[in-house]
Subunit: 362 residues, 4 copies
């Protein structure tokens, strides 16, 4: 389905970095979800380039809701959100030199030279603004059901953030933060590492950690639509994500069953697990514990340091030192994106189980 994802709640993405706009259509939403424009703006601002640690490209992200909302509520018909592109400088981009580890070469292989190459075209991280707006649109519906989502940078530039601790408090603070860390000292060091990389014409990556709380047991499917499958499908759609792991993730491969298993116990009449190494998912299905996963985010491939590459027109070796504007590290900006796509995936899982009206309380 290429640019559409989801079963009951579907998301269709369109737009190019230097075209008139980026946009998204969300279909299958319950009628009656209150639309919180301020929240959309706030989540967009969390995604927007910050201070020195991000690209110099600045966009107001003055979105319009083109359809599907009436008198402040979703109507139940498709919601299209459009975000115009304003701060566009196409002169910065070269067409024939393939930026290493970027999509220039694969785009040409796939689209035979018809791709809009300006600023990464349809591959641009710019399109995540539309995803963030879509995710922010559904957040109030999830919140009303007691579901919360938060993402922090758990590692960047060799600096480790502290882990989640008091979930509700941690989620509260992440909602307020521009730079999504739980330990502000760690955040300060990360920012310095990013600025250092930038000064060297280089870039950094990071590991993002996400928690979903308040999710009921029973979501997901035993096989092809396991909760891990549908979440990872969405997460690997976020540019730069090269790894996804749930719960203890890759570390669990080195444990024994005895140490890896999460023992069940009763707490106030409810079944819980003492540990959560499975990340809230057993056999592909949520077990009612917080869902926890981590995404590996690669360092921005566009760097100003000189790199070897090929000229795609002349088919010969060449050298590239990217100019243009680019992020020395997208980890700070990607937190809002991961929150948003996670929210959309959770809506889809809930709507499949409970029907199309349930999210609005009906």
């Amino acid at each position: 389905m290429k640019n559409t994802i989801g079963n009951s709640v579907t998301v269709t993405l369109f737009g190019e970095s230097h075209g008139p706009c980026v946009g998204v259509v969300i279909d299958g939403l319950a009628p009656g979800i209150p639309v919180d424009r301020a929240l959309i703006e706030k989540m967009l601002s969390r995604r927007r380039p910050a201070g020195g640690v991000s690209t110099a490209r600045q966009e107001a992200d003055a979105f319009t809701i083109e359809s599907g909302v009436f008198d402040g509520y979703t109507t139940g018909t498709p919601v299209c959100i459009r975000i115009p592109n304003t701060d566009v400088r196409s002169g910065d981009y070269n067409r024939s030199l393939a930026r290493p580890s970027h999509a220039d070469y694969t785009a040409r292989q796939k689209y035979h030279g018809f791709e809009d190459y300006r600023g990464g075209g349809h591959f641009s991280g710019r399109l995540t603004a539309a995803l963030v707006a879509a995710g922010a649109l559904v957040m109030p519906a999830l919140k009303a059901k007691g579901i919360r989502i938060g993402t922090h940078i758990c590692r960047c530039g060799g600096i480790q953030d502290r882990g989640f601790c008091d979930l509700e408090k941690d989620l509260d603070s992440l909602e307020q933060l521009g730079f999504a860390v739980l330990d502000s000292d760690a955040g300060e060091k990360m920012a310095q590492a990013i600025l250092k990389a930038k000064a060297e014409g280089d870039s950094l990556g990071g590991v993002m950690e996400t928690v979903i709380t308040g999710l009921e047991a029973g979501l997901g499917e035993p096989w092809f639509d396991s909760a891990e499958s549908v979440l990872s499908h969405m997460l690997f759609s976020v540019p730069a994500v090269k790894g996804v792991e749930f719960g203890a993730g890759f570390a669990i491969a080195d444990m024994t069953g005895w140490s890896a298993n999460d023992a069940f116990y009763m707490e106030n009449g409810k079944v819980k697990t003492l540990t959560n190494r499975a990340g809230g998912i057993n056999g592909g299905i949520t077990n009612g514990m917080p869902v926890v996963f981590r995404c590996a985010v690669r360092p921005t491939p566009t760097i100003s340091k000189e790199q070897n590459t090929v000229d795609m027109d002349k088919l010969e070796n060449s050298v590239l030192a990217a100019k243009g504007r680019h992020d020395p590290c997208i980890a700070p900006r990607v937190a809002a994106v991961i929150d948003a796509v996670t929210a959309l995936t959770v809506c889809d899982l809930l709507a499949q189980r409970h029907g199309t009206d349930w999210l609005a309380g009906k």
Copy 2:
């Protein structure tokens, strides 16, 4: 879509561990793919419990092709493969005690007690036999296009296998092996570690590494059907997989852009990359280099050591020491499963790009 996956080539899975059979329907295959029954048998035998390192349950896996094959070739209509269950001992299972980190509790939450609990029911690893048969069915078509797939246990019980080296030779040897390692000494040590865990009533996990060679550049989509998205969707459908990473994966998060980027260069008129930290995928689209990924496989949750858990009927704390037959480590068996589901995913990507007839050479 629950138990169906794929766009052009779809796979539908059915069956329970202790029902009459497990089975699979593969739809969208090109007409004219030669069916190699011996290869299906061989791949099924690679998945079958081996010597001491696996469960004592032994099944001949005497599959029948129920439809879609005529005179030794696929017809282009749905292929159903059915594998009867024979060595079934339901008495071994207890219904009310939830095995920690297994699907007993989540199945009850999802299916309200109507689930077939015997032997894990629809959640049983037994269903992977059907997936393996389906994957083996399409392998000759991929091979004819120069595409090969191989998986080895790159880590198990703290022992590391060597990495891929001479890809063609390594793939040749993996095809012949019951225990999928590249370094037989490492394999010997892993087998000992597994037997030790078994003797202690415990279990082990592992990390599987897979390579796909001969894949053209241009497969996958920029966003929701990125090559990573569709592969991970399928891979997380394999029971016990808790992490998936491509290329350098989580390690790339700690590199800088300069060290993480794969420089392009020309070799015999072809564009290649000097390194392959992106795992053959840039911007969600294959770049013509080998696709490389790793899956974290959790230790088998069913162990005979005593564990704390809850009684789901009485809703009270309890203690469980699983009897039944189970694998002390599924890593050796899961290699064939990952090969199979990877083959099915690759067929789908190719059929989307080149149409439904292409796989058979038309």
Copy 3:
């Protein structure tokens, strides 16, 4: 999606006329639907060739439920129903002569000669047995929700059946009948017309009329998944259907708005319409009135009268007088098929709106 249909409740069909079996996988059904094997047998017998008016091929249709049912209830996991083929005589079929208006020629164009040509292969009406079994499986769930479905032959061989009148009584009687007519005299004349066509080596078609009662208002979508769209998609999948119309159908094209509109009125606090020329669907969405549609069924293309055709191997004109066994009119048998596929479509619409558990009352 080729051989899979549905969004929340999906149906996957497989098998060939002269292969080992035909079968179907139904996925997405609620856990806890009681399975009524006798009803499945009864609906299969309604589809089975009757007395003189049908083909001489006789099959017991001894179906097995291969998965997804446990202790008499659906489990919520995929239900596979398998019906073995027994009374198979492949010698009757000729490969090179294309039967006019049959799928021989188009199958060869699509499958390049790899198709299983015996008895129509995958195109055979034989596969409708699997559809009927699938439909019968879900009928008890619909009945429990107050939803009933019935189909009668409203025209055949120039003879008109009376229209629906007292819906509940009419549906009662259709459930009991082998030959689905509301007026038994008309049925008698139709049977005679069919026998006459048979004696002449010819065949007849007919128009089927279906009613769904008890359906809530609000099912279907404004655009691409209008109730008419999803029903017609399924109905045109039934072999021989060449037209589908809802309510007044083609006749409404000749009315004026004033005469075509169904006036709303209140009855016992409920909104109803005085007439039902829209067939219970306004703007693609059910309005709570009975859903009514008609399907045009073409005369069986296989006739024993001599016909001009081509030899597909020699690519030259030829003459064909079909032997084999075939129905002189499939209208009597297709009633059960239309009931079944309608039931499956209704389940899908309900599950999308109310979620996956709703059909079983949860």
Copy 4:
């Protein structure tokens, strides 16, 4: 999938009659299709209200292509077309009185009162402008493959147009016409009948007949995605369509097999049929003959004559005489819509068979 349709080439529709715009996203198009803006404008003008026979609402339909087109060619990424709403007069609409046979009541049942009721909201025929633009976008690709599509009003107000005769000439003339008839005298009479209905505060319907020429044999699937199924799914998405029939359609139900069958014969080395009662489709698959189908279009439900209805707020009987602007007959405008959605469906069938690049000649 609600507002998205298609497998390889998908169409997503959004917008409301009185919102800022209507729009469409077309995904899966081959890169390199030349975009003919003049053709899009021309097809939009064919859909636009004409002279006296249509609604007084006049819109310039000044569409913008928001994405997926670069330097005059499709890029292969999603194309979004946006058409702003300009001539909007919301005061004309009453919220509580359900217009008979319109979607007011069903929308309220489905969307619980959150629907945008102004001008029919998301149900408005206004959205077909976006469909027409999408269809016009792909027309050049089909034409380059020798595929043509044309629709005429074959019956309206009791007046019959002549049937298709010299297909190429007929298609040429239909492309030029505002009022899509093959016999201009018949067209004149139809226009008079429409004006008469309008003068009486009433409306007319009609039957549309469509032909697709140049289509290869082998498109469509044996069962759920039969060519009839996918076409009818799309056609019943067009507002006001209440019946769809292929070839001889409902009339074939009254023929015998002997008279209904289309005899094959050889012509210049090609297999053809002497007649085309099957409408170019055998066994769900195109046979290379022209595909022919007819759609029954109901008379516009909105009429100014007084009608009985209910007040949905007060739940009591009431009387309605619609004001607003509306078409006395949509048949003249719907021809362009049917051409457009047929073109989109054909693209999808071709892209599934031949892959995503084929449409642009690669």
